[in-house]
């Protein structure tokens, strides 16, 4: 199944100075107009230089609470991640995804050893003793990303004036996201908004009481 960017409302963004950046909000809905949460919006400026990642930034944390990962976690390439365990039992965090393969042996450590995600792409993280624990980590080359909330809205903050290829990604997609060009005019100030209609193919859900995978269509 393909992801459809059926209707993109290209915002004509009203921005004032080149020094200033703009926040652009995107609303992601499905074909029926229902909002889609947990979609990751990200923008790749075509010309503006991508700011370098902060060299010694604090590691990101992915929490394991009640044997559950956060569903989606976008991050900049090169980010360091620690897995924090809030449970009273241990986990074995691993990934066999090509973008990042790692295994954190079974441990009850509250904070795991750091893992550096140095390749862009989707990393599906699991726990080898709890099959239903699934975390989708999207490693991006851009710092401009956001996750949609329950209303399907995500705000891309501080976009420089440029034409951006804006993408939307969701674990339910089985085809690569298609770019939507969004232009932020020089000197524009304030917010702009655009909408993306997204069609999802379905998701693998694993019931913790009966950990056999099912492909669930939305």
């Amino acid at each position: 199944m393909r992801t459809l960017l059926a209707a993109a409302v290209a915002a004509v963004l009203l921005l004032s100075s080149a020094a200033r950046a703009a926040d652009v909000a995107g609303i992601v809905r499905d074909a029926n107009g229902a909002p889609i949460a947990d979609a990751i919006l990200y923008a790749a400026p075509r010309n503006a230089p991508t700011p370098a990642a902060p060299a010694a930034s604090a590691p990101l944390a992915i929490d394991q609470v009640n044997a559950q990962f956060p569903f989606v976690t976008p991050m900049r390439r090169g980010s360091t991640v620690v897995f924090r365990n809030a449970d009273t039992f241990g986990h074995t965090v691993y990934s066999v995804s090509q973008a990042k393969t790692f295994t954190i042996p079974l441990s009850r450590d509250v904070v795991s050893a750091p893992v550096v995600f140095d390749t862009a792409g989707v990393v599906v993280v699991g726990c080898s003793i709890h099959d239903w624990m699934i975390a989708y980590v999207l490693v991006l080359d851009t710092p401009y990303y956001a996750v949609t909330n329950a209303t399907g809205t995500a705000v891309l903050q501080n976009l420089p004036a440029d034409t951006h290829d804006v993408y939307v990604w969701h674990p339910g997609m089985t085809t690569p996201p298609q770019p939507l060009p969004i232009t932020v005019a020089a000197g524009a100030i304030g917010n702009a908004e655009f909408r993306i209609d997204l069609k999802l193919d379905g998701l693998w859900k694993i019931d913790r009481n009966n950990p056999v995978g099912r492909f669930v269509t939305p």
């Binding site: 691993y94 066999v96 699934i134 693998w204 694993i206 099912r214």
Partner: protein
């Protein structure tokens, strides 16, 4: 065919029909039952087979799922190093006893396989299976299909890490080992194969090699449909065969052949059949003995009756049938005994009658109602008389006389009866016989002439007897006449005779007397002579007998015409010449011929008589009315 055999065969036939029908009915019923049973069993086998295959698929899928969930395998996949993946697959495969294992990417690219060759040579099946799994949104897909040259039970499961990252396909070869396992559970012979290019290739079977070839040949021919049952001969033994498609991929066109030997089901009935056959045989033997006894019980008295009746038919009336029974056979025996008695009485009566009257007359009398009355018929009457018997009897004691006479009369009677005549009566020493009554005989004259000639022999016998007793020889005279007479039962209502009466009878008696005049043994009238061709006759005279105007022409029969020598015939012609001359008044001519004849037969009375007549006639020539007829004084 004897009555006894017929009874025996009928009874046996009936018993055979009844028992045989029962046997045949049971035979076919058991045959049908066995077939029904085996068909039901085969149907059950099919269901068991299908259930087994399904369960096996599920089990294998579960095992595969479990194996794919193995974290170590996931990390091996994570390494994306082909040799590592191959060895990991081998490990996985051997854990669950699969024959083939392959790992495919989510985009259906083959990542690794073990053993490598089989899978890599057939790249189409495995993605196909994955597509099915994908389409079904299921975590597993399974089915029977070919990988390379072999059919496999294939199971595809996703490698969940934690969502599907790749597809693992495991293959289980459908081989003889599997077939043997299935046979153990289904109880049927299991073969797996498919039609390809006009033949049926068998990939796995519980059958021995030779039978596989047979099955292959026959399955290639047969147009089988799912669920249809066919009989197939394998190794000369009939197998009820069920053919059904195998697996969920029709593209594989694999079929499973389930077979059960028909004889297996028949075996349970074989004992029953054998028992029935023995029962039939025993029944037949007992019946045969019983029927034999019955037949003997019935036919033995009948045979005794038959033997008795045969004896009676042969004239032995002394027999009595000794069957003491209260049933119909007993009644038959009593009836036969009574009949024999009756026959004996009748025979005695007939014999008695035969002594009194001729045998033929007796038969005639016994054969029809005895009543007065007669009919006119042309017959020949014969009188035979011993000349000079009275004179001879004067010098003979009465006992000897009767004995000689009886011997003579018996001989004469025998001659008469031998020639088909009847002795009408004995008048002292003379015999009156009739030919042509009571049974009409067209050749009565010939018979009479032949009988008369034959009586010569009897006379010779009589003379021999007389000579032995020192008695003078005798001669006899025989007179024969054929005429229309009245024949029938004559007399009173209380006593009657079967006889003939009429002028013809008198003439015969007269003619017999005339033999003394001419001194010839036999004289027949012209009417007899005319009716008896084939004999040589000598005309003796034309006589007007006393009291009758009509002259009688007399002939002496000499014998069968063929038996005479030329010389005798010549002399006979001379005599007839003399007779002709005499009648035409050629006295001297006649006399000359007679004289010539007399030279040959000087003792002949006849020639002398005629010469004497000629002498007289010469002296007193007759009137114009004389026609040569001699008028008896």
């Amino acid at each position: 065919m004897s009555f006894r055999t017929r009874i025996l065969l009928t009874l046996l036939g009936l018993i055979l029909a009844v028992q045989g029908t029962a046997f045949i009915a049971v035979y076919f019923a058991t045959g049908r039952s066995a077939r029904t049973q085996i068909e039901a069993e085969l149907g059950a086998s099919e269901r068991v087979f299908e259930a087994l295959m399904e369960r096996r698929e599920v089990e294998l899928a579960q095992a595969a799922s479990l194996a794919s969930g193995d974290f170590a395998f996931k990390t091996a996949f994570a390494l994306r190093h082909v040799p590592t993946m191959v060895t990991a697959l081998r490990n996985l495969r051997s854990r669950i006893g699969a024959d083939e294992a392959a790992l495919l990417d989510l985009d259906h690219t083959l990542l690794a396989a073990d053993p490598e060759m089989a899978v890599s040579s057939e790249r189409t099946t495995l993605p196909h299976l994955i597509e099915i799994a994908e389409r079904a949104r299921a975590v597993t897909a399974s089915g029977v299909d070919f990988v390379g040259a072999r059919p496999y039970l294939l199971v595809t499961v996703p490698l969940m890490a934690p969502v599907p990252m790749a597809w693992i396909t495991l293959g289980f070869d459908l081989n003889d080992v599997l077939a043997a396992e299935l046979k153990e559970l289904t109880g049927a012979d299991v073969s797996i194969g498919r039609r390809e290019g006009g033949q049926f290739s068998i990939y796995a079977s519980t059958l021995p090699e030779a039978r596989r070839a047979e099955l292959s040949q026959q399955a290639a021919r047969g147009e089988w449909q799912r669920g249809s049952l066919t009989d197939i001969m394998l190794g000369g033994e009939p197998f009820v065969t069920l053919l059904s498609p195998l697996g969920n991929f029709t593209s594989s066109s694999l079929q499973v052949v389930l077979q059960r030997p028909l004889n297996e089901a028949m075996a349970s009935y074989a004992e029953l059949r054998l028992f029935l056959a023995l029962l039939l045989a025993a029944g037949l033997i007992v019946s045969a003995i019983g029927a034999g006894l019955i037949a003997r019980n019935v036919t033995s008295p009948i045979r005794r009756v038959v033997a008795a009746v045969e004896k009676v038919a042969a004239g032995d009336y002394s027999v009595t049938v000794g069957v003491q029974r209260g049933d119909e056979l007993g009644q038959l025996a009593v009836a036969v005994n009574q009949m024999t008695q009756g026959l004996a009485e009748r025979d005695r009566a007939r014999e008695l009658l035969g002594k009194m009257v001729s045998q033929q007359v007796a038969t005639e009398l016994l054969g029809r109602r005895l009543e007065l009355g007669g009919e006119q018929r042309v017959v020949t009457v014969l009188f035979a008389d011993i000349l000079g018997f009275t004179r001879m009897s004067e010098h003979m004691p009465p006992g000897e006389l009767v004995s000689v006479l009886n011997a003579y009369l018996t001989a004469i009677s025998n001659v008469v009866e031998r020639h088909g005549g009847i002795v009408d009566k004995f008048i002292g020493d003379s015999v009156m016989a009739v030919f042509g009554a009571p049974i009409p005989q067209p050749d009565h004259a010939q018979r009479a002439v032949r009988a008369a000639l034959s009586m010569h022999g009897s006379l010779n016998d009589l003379n021999r007897t007389l000579v032995e007793r020192n008695r003078p020889r005798v001669r006899f005279g025989i007179g024969v006449n054929s005429a229309a007479v009245v024949v029938g039962n004559m007399g009173s209502t209380r006593r009657l005779n079967y006889t003939v009466i009429g002028d013809g009878v008198n003439i015969a008696a007269r003619v017999e007397k005339l033999t003394r005049e001419y001194e010839v043994p036999i004289l027949v009238t012209a009417s007899t002579q005319a009716e008896a061709p084939g004999f040589l006759f000598r005309e003796i005279d034309r006589v007007r007998v006393r009291g009758r105007d009509e002259p009688v022409r007399l002939y002496q029969p000499l014998g069968e015409a063929s038996a005479f020598a030329e010389e005798s015939v010549h002399r006979l012609e001379m005599w007839h010449d003399a007779l002709r001359r005499y009648r035409s008044r050629d006295w001297s001519g006649a006399d000359a011929v007679l004289a010539k004849l007399q030279e040959g037969e000087p003792d002949s009375t006849l020639y002398a008589m005629y010469r004497a007549r000629i002498e007289t006639l010469r002296l007193a020539p007759p009137g114009a009315a004389w026609d040569g007829t001699f008028t008896q004084a």
